[in-house]
Amino acid sequence: MMDFARRFFSRPTALFGFAVFAAIVAIALAAPLLFARGPFNIVGMPLLPPGAPGLLVGSDVLGRDMLVGLAFGARVSLLVGISATLCAAGMGVLLGSVAGYYGGLVDDLLMRVTEFFQIIPSFVLLMVLVAFLQPSLESAVIGIALISWPQVARVVRGEFLTLRSREFVQAARTIGMRDAGIIFTQILPNALPPIVVISSMMVGNAILAESALSFLGLGDPNLLSWGSMIGGARSAMWVAWWTTVLPGVSIMVTVLALNFIGDGLNDALNPRRRR
């Protein structure tokens, strides 16, 4: 474990990504304590520039404090990004492990389904899903999970295909372990590193997908998110750059930090596969 941490933090980008991500998590958690009145509270004139009295980063089209909006937006992004990834990872692990462990016809069938979900235009499917289920936090999580599980399934299947014929699996079978026991207590722990790496990268993509949904007006109508801030400020973009630039930079920094973390995890967990 110490060895892993040392390898991870020896990369400057990984260290930077981790520090930035930790800061964003802290802001998201502290938002309701710091700004008790919530992001929809009107504090002054609309479109005040950054640096106006009491407004560190200005106000938006309705005269709401952009700083409060950005802090609360982090909550939506992280919540959707992390929960969608957990759901997708769960689905992917389940289907991928069954396909890889049993092989044969089951594997063929499951892999065709996986392939199908990778061919079809996933963002349009996501729009249909969220629009039909009615826009909400839950529908965004379900939709994003449904379009992202194939990545995990493919990785898990690959790991299971190579691990299932190893000696420790044969030993487990000899002592009479059931398939479910072998899959979850014997093989899965050994397949974890690549699952962790791909999941960390998926959080970033899930955040991008959530921001795109909110931008199109398919986000939860009761929550302010970075994407809906950008979508709502489109008419003001020409006169007040900060209304669109700042939420976009927030998304970019968050996703970049997550990608750096993913790269660092990849190097730290697979020392032999280093580039």
Binding site: F116, Q118, I119, I120, P121, S122, F123, V124, L125, M127, V128, L129, A131, F132, L133, Q134, G204, L208, S211, A212, F215, L216, G217, L218, G227, I230, R234, M237, W238, W241, T244, V245, G248, I251, M252, V255, L256, N259
Partner: protein, 324 residues
Amino acid sequence: MKLRYIAMRLVKTVLVAIAVVLLSFFLIRLAPGDAATVMAGQSGYADEAFMKDLRAEYGLDQPLPVQLWKYMDQVAHGDLGTSYVRRQPVLAIILERLPNTLLLDAFALVVAAAGGIWLGAMAARRPGSALDNATTVLAMLFYSVPQFWLGMMMMLLFAVWLGWLPPFGIETMGADYTGLARLGDIGLHILLPGTTLALYFMASYARLTRTAMIEVADQDFVKTARAKGIGERQVARRHILRNALIPLITFAGLQASILVGGNVLVENVFSWPGVGTLAYEAVTQRDNPLLLGIFIVTAILVSLFNLITDIAYSVADPRVELGR
């Protein structure tokens, strides 16, 4: 043998199309209410008997498998339903917008491939150089930026602040250019949305070309070419690059589904009158048949594009017939 491969791929494409329609049939059921509730809502007043008549008229009271069969039959005949809002056949509305989207995508793919391959080839020539590192950093950045926001920033910079390019639409409204002048006008309008779409893919192409070229450069036939005394430029272009480009063909196919998602966002930002903007209009107007129709049409187009790239790949790389 190659014919057999192509036939197998054709069958697969048909199966994907059937699966798309099957999935759509179940997606309809996700929306609250059915077609009868929507129509009853529009008629202003409806009692139970009227609803029952409506359901009978549209076959909504029949068992699920019968409904599914009818639905597949309809779609197979090109009937994707009628738009709630526009009162026109969904397929006709989509086909009217499709050429604009295809134009934008073709432009974006050409720019992305040309720029990406050039950047990747330059980076592969000197791994670790400033250009190589810059390419890697830029690729990482473009992966982390929301595409719609990148488009807005391009608009802010080139249309609002610098005033070089038109920010909206496909041509100047009310100008009524004809012939070459019109073509030039469209060319000016396509630059911002086209480049925004292209940048994301350009980054991936650059990275892929770079790794493929470094890999190929290590192989024996390249050493043979050098040993024969062929100039370094010729080796780079005729031997390394040519072989490194083959995997990029399949990659273009895989990216097609991402490209469609980009269309929805980027067309919307630049008010480009294509299928992507249509999808946004369908969402804001709650026009479910139109939205679902766009999903079906784009999914089938993407799988057709995949079929074409796979066939092109099998022609470019003779080894492919061995595998599937």
